[in-house]
């Protein structure tokens, strides 16, 4: 389950967020901000994608680096939200 979320989140980030010249990969725990991968419009795209793909609703108050600033954190967050809303698929 988590593995499936992880695959999707990783491919979303690799496909949509742009790597600068000095980087070709991203580890699960690296900060997306520090890697220069995400800016304030990028985060809104990410939220829209996650809401649609995983049928979840992301509250403003959840939009924190603790939940979104690495692949690992995003996966954990999505899994947690889905667990509290089991009807979503």
């Amino acid at each position: 389950m988590t593995a499936e979320i992880e695959t999707q989140v990783r491919s979303l980030i690799e496909d949509n967020f742009l790597f600068r010249e000095d980087r070709t990969s991203l580890s699960d725990t690296e900060s997306l901000i520090d890697a220069g991968l995400i800016d304030s419009t990028g985060i809104l795209e990410l939220v829209a994608f996650l809401e649609e793909r995983f049928k979840i609703e992301i509250a403003d108050a959840d939009l924190l680096p603790e939940n979104f600033d690495s692949i690992h954190r995003i996966v954990a967050y999505v899994a947690r939200v889905r667990a509290t809303a089991p009807s979503a698929s």
Partner: protein
Amino acid sequence: MRVEHFLRDSARTCRHKVALVAGERRLTFGDLDGASDRLAAALSRRGVSRGDRVVVFLDNCWEAVVAIFAVMKAGAVLCPINPSTKAAKLGWLLDHCRASAMILQDRWAASAKAALAQAHCVKLTIMVGELDPTGFPDGIRFDDAIAGSAACPLEAPAGIDLDLAMLIYTSGSTGLPKGVMITHQNAAASATSVISYLHNTPDDIILNALPISFSYGLYQVLMAAKVGATLILEKSFVFPHSILEKMGAERATGIPIVPSIASTILQMKSLRGAAFPHLRYITNAGAALPPSHAERLQELFPAARIYSMYGMTECHRGTWLPPDQLRSRPGSVGIAIPNTETYVVDGDGNRVAPGVVGELVIRGAHVMKGYWENPAATDSTLRPGPYSWEKVLYTGDLFRSDEQGYLYFVARKDDVIKTGAQKVSPKEVENAIYALPGILEVAVVGVPDPVLGMAIKAVVVPGPKADLTPRDVIRHCAKHLEDFMVPRIVEFRDGLPKTESGKIRRRQVASEISETER
């Protein structure tokens, strides 16, 4: 007054007061003064002299604030560079200003190393972070450079206030960046004027999430130091909820924003009004705040006075709208900042009547000295003014004024695109795209965008054998251009309109696009 005295004076009057909060770090004025003294001493010891350019390639971190004051204390010229700048351009910039030292974050060491290969002028590298700086020219770690508590040996004055304080690069319509030369006197004039209408005091707590490589962000650091206010430095506005929480927790009294930040705040679903009783003011610059956004911000922050302002790197700040005029003059960016003048002129430099569109001219002690080693660009921007003994700043921006002299921005005179408060030269983006094999023609234009004001769009004609997608073009740009210059939209076409001499009619492409989207 020289800019480093902003900090020195505050360190004398309020040594133990918190000057800077950056993440978990809190530095008093005494801490900041001491650390910047030690870094200045390290710069001097290692060969940085009066007038030398020192590139600061850092994001919004406490080390950057130390670096800003240290460079000036050493008598050198601060050259802040956007950390999303890629190797080739960074190399060009280092070489262009003949930087003698660079202070950089280890995270961007790979780009910096590639840049240094084409800029042999850099003789000293100071590395912020964990990375071992071995292999960089006279590389030392930032932490080592500021270690110890030795008193500063820099007793002699670093220079006078006519010396250059900063060299800030901005996009030029030719595609090559221009280095805006700001003296200490210019910076002090500008900071003093802005502080006077914002009524800043030592009780202020200013939350800044704007990049300090950008004049509007950088001046937050300078102004806070000048009045002895506390600066909360945030890296970006990516997580608006965190920023607003911090704003509440730290009891911020002022926040500078650009229109895209206003859009982000207004998109937050759960934000309730009146939650920030300490917030005394919000300033907006970079681009005009849409009147509806100004109104909604005022509802959300009823205690805050909203200042709509206009400026450019060449003078930092040009105009301000007194907050009590916000409702009665929607869309206006106001009047000249205190102790300066602004007026609108026609093509011959004559002042025009209210309501008539012309170019905005700015006159004051805050106006730059020119563009670094670029006399042609300097002469077309700094031109003779009303008196024979002076030059005034031609902004390149078209404005009109109302009967009472309040100014309204109309458009840029050239093709430079204003996106999310940054200026982008279409030529620079086009040049980057032409470097991609298989591209025949390209025109880069601005298209209206609800968040950015204008978004960058590239209209591209690929060659018959080019195996390219719009995504490839965007990826290529992301590798070579600063983040804010990367096109958001790429459209492929079979051809572009041209003049008889074969030059692409970029303006026609832009106007056709805006017609279709109307």
